[in-house]
């Protein structure tokens, strides 16, 4: 329940910041993708399942805000969250390099998805132009913002989510480990 609350607030705040404050502070027409950072962090710090769930809602809120077909970015962000969950065993507190790499690769993947499903399917082949004018600034800006934003999320995770993990019914690495220890071979 606590995790649910924390992630709901994280997603809401990120979306609001992204669509208002950072839109005003856009550099080279790009806005940092805070929701992606949230999805990546949720997967990387917790588990595949949590990354997936948080990613889904991150994408859904973007779908709803843009006003197009529902579910496209929910799907992409969900996959990103799930894949980042694969790296949850590498999680180290305060380590910033690895999650930043994850953010950069995820952002690239999301940009590619935007390009393929928004432009390539209409026969638009100016990928090199977009690489220069959108992909690169967007990835850089997101990574720069992520250095601070990820640390805030990390702090939240450490102070609230990780401490409470023991009496959580939701899946977390700790509870999974505990389960394994209790019924070996289950």
């Amino acid at each position: 329940m606590l995790a649910f609350l924390v992630f709901t607030i994280e997603i809401l705040v990120s979306y609001l910041l992204q669509s208002t404050v950072f839109s005003a502070l856009s550099i080279a027409n790009t806005v940092p993708d805070l929701l992606l950072i949230v999805a990546v962090a949720a997967g990387y710090q917790n588990s595949r399942l949590r990354g997936m769930t948080v990613g889904f809602f991150c994408g859904l809120i973007i779908d709803v805000g843009t006003g197009g077909i529902l579910g496209v970015y929910a799907l992409f962000y969900m996959l990103i969250g799930y894949l980042c969950g694969h790296f949850s065993s590498f999680y180290v507190q305060r380590d910033i390099f690895f999650p930043l790499m994850l953010v950069a690769f995820s952002e690239f993947a999301i940009c590619c998805a935007y390009y393929v499903f928004g432009f390539l399917i209409r026969g638009d082949l100016q990928l090199s132009e977009y690489l220069k004018s959108i992909f690169l600034p967007k990835i850089l800006y997101t990574v720069v913002v992520a250095t601070v934003y990820y640390l805030i999320l990390d702090l939240l995770y450490e102070r609230i989510l990780n401490r409470k993990a023991e009496d959580e019914s939701f899946l977390s690495p700790e509870s999974i480990l505990r389960e394994e220890g209790e019924n070996p071979g289950a």
């Binding site: 839109s23 529902l70 929910a74 289950a186």
Partner: protein, 286 residues
């Protein structure tokens, strides 16, 4: 590795993922096939989010106002001087023009002409949020159905066309601007009267242009000619200024010409817009 561990319920996350992917795909197909079906959900979520965005917008503008007050006073004084000079010049010209206007009114009466430039009822609105993907140019304004907004209403700023409303909620509307890659506007070129299509282009956007297509090969259009919305358009009201032509070239098949267009609206610093509360359909019916 952790990722091989079995979760609590005994279902591998892999299978849950598959299930969710299927769910998403169904969601996509369903919302593609029945675009209006999810409107209540979408509107409910946006109706909750918009007041928060509005709040941030208000706080932001107030902070902006305060910081603007501390702007360089010298610069303002200098500007004031310059504006005074301009004012006297303009007053002079105004005198002359009002004389012309009087003459023109006379001629108009003689010719029984109607107003040359159409006048539409407009409502002001603030931009409170923008699309953040970088791939689309849509934004949210703070007026919705309770302020009389409807889908397909035209949006203006700086005397030029900004875009069109694509979705209306109770207290918000989503506007797709003409620089969006998905946007197409039928237009006419002033002076030559050639019809053409103005379409947004993501590739040209960083250079500050959008694209004009389908100008007839024999067109005499030159750089800096004005481009207006045309009578042919289904959704855009006629006679709205879009921008100025430049860089006209003939297509490889030499059937049509293409050109760049510099919009009159400064899309990067757009904060308030005007919505025309009249739909094209109703104008046509009249």
């Amino acid at each position: 590795m952790n990722s091989r561990k079995k979760p609590k319920y005994g279902i591998e996350p892999k299978y849950i993922l598959m299930l969710c992917v299927m769910l998403c795909l169904m969601l996509i197909l369903f919302s593609y096939r029945f675009p209006r079906f999810f409107d209540p959900v979408r509107k409910a979520m946006n109706t909750c989010l918009v007041p928060m965005q509005k709040g941030i917008h208000v706080v932001g503008t107030q902070i902006d106002d305060i910081s603007a007050k501390f702007d360089d006073i010298d610069a303002l004084r200098e500007e004031n001087e310059q504006l005074k000079r301009e004012l006297t010049e303009l007053r002079d010209r105004n005198e002359m023009l009002s004389q012309d206007l009087y003459d023109m009114e006379l001629y108009k009466q003689l010719l029984e002409l109607d107003k040359t430039y159409p006048e539409y009822a407009k409502v002001g609105a603030n931009i409170i949020a923008r699309d953040t993907s970088g791939f689309y140019a849509t934004f949210t304004i703070d007026k919705g159905s309770e302020n009389g907004m409807k889908v397909d209403m035209n949006v203006l700023a700086d005397n030029g066309l900004v875009g069109i409303i694509t979705e209306v909620g109770r207290n918000y509307s989503i506007v797709r601007s003409i620089i969006d890659d998905y946007s197409y506007v039928s237009a006419t070129i002033m002076k030559t009267g050639d019809s053409c299509v103005v379409c947004g282009s993501l590739a040209l956007l960083s250079k500050g242009f959008i694209k004009v297509r389908d100008i007839s090969a024999g067109s005499q259009a030159k750089n800096n000619y004005k481009v207006y919305t045309s009578e042919l358009s289904k959704k855009y009201l006629p006679g709205l200024l879009i921008g100025y032509l430049s860089n006209i070239t003939t297509e490889a098949d030499s059937m049509t010409k293409v050109a760049y267009l510099t919009p009159v609206v400064d899309f990067e610093h757009l904060s308030t817009v005007l919505v025309i509360t009249q739909l094209k359909e109703s104008v046509v019916k009249q």
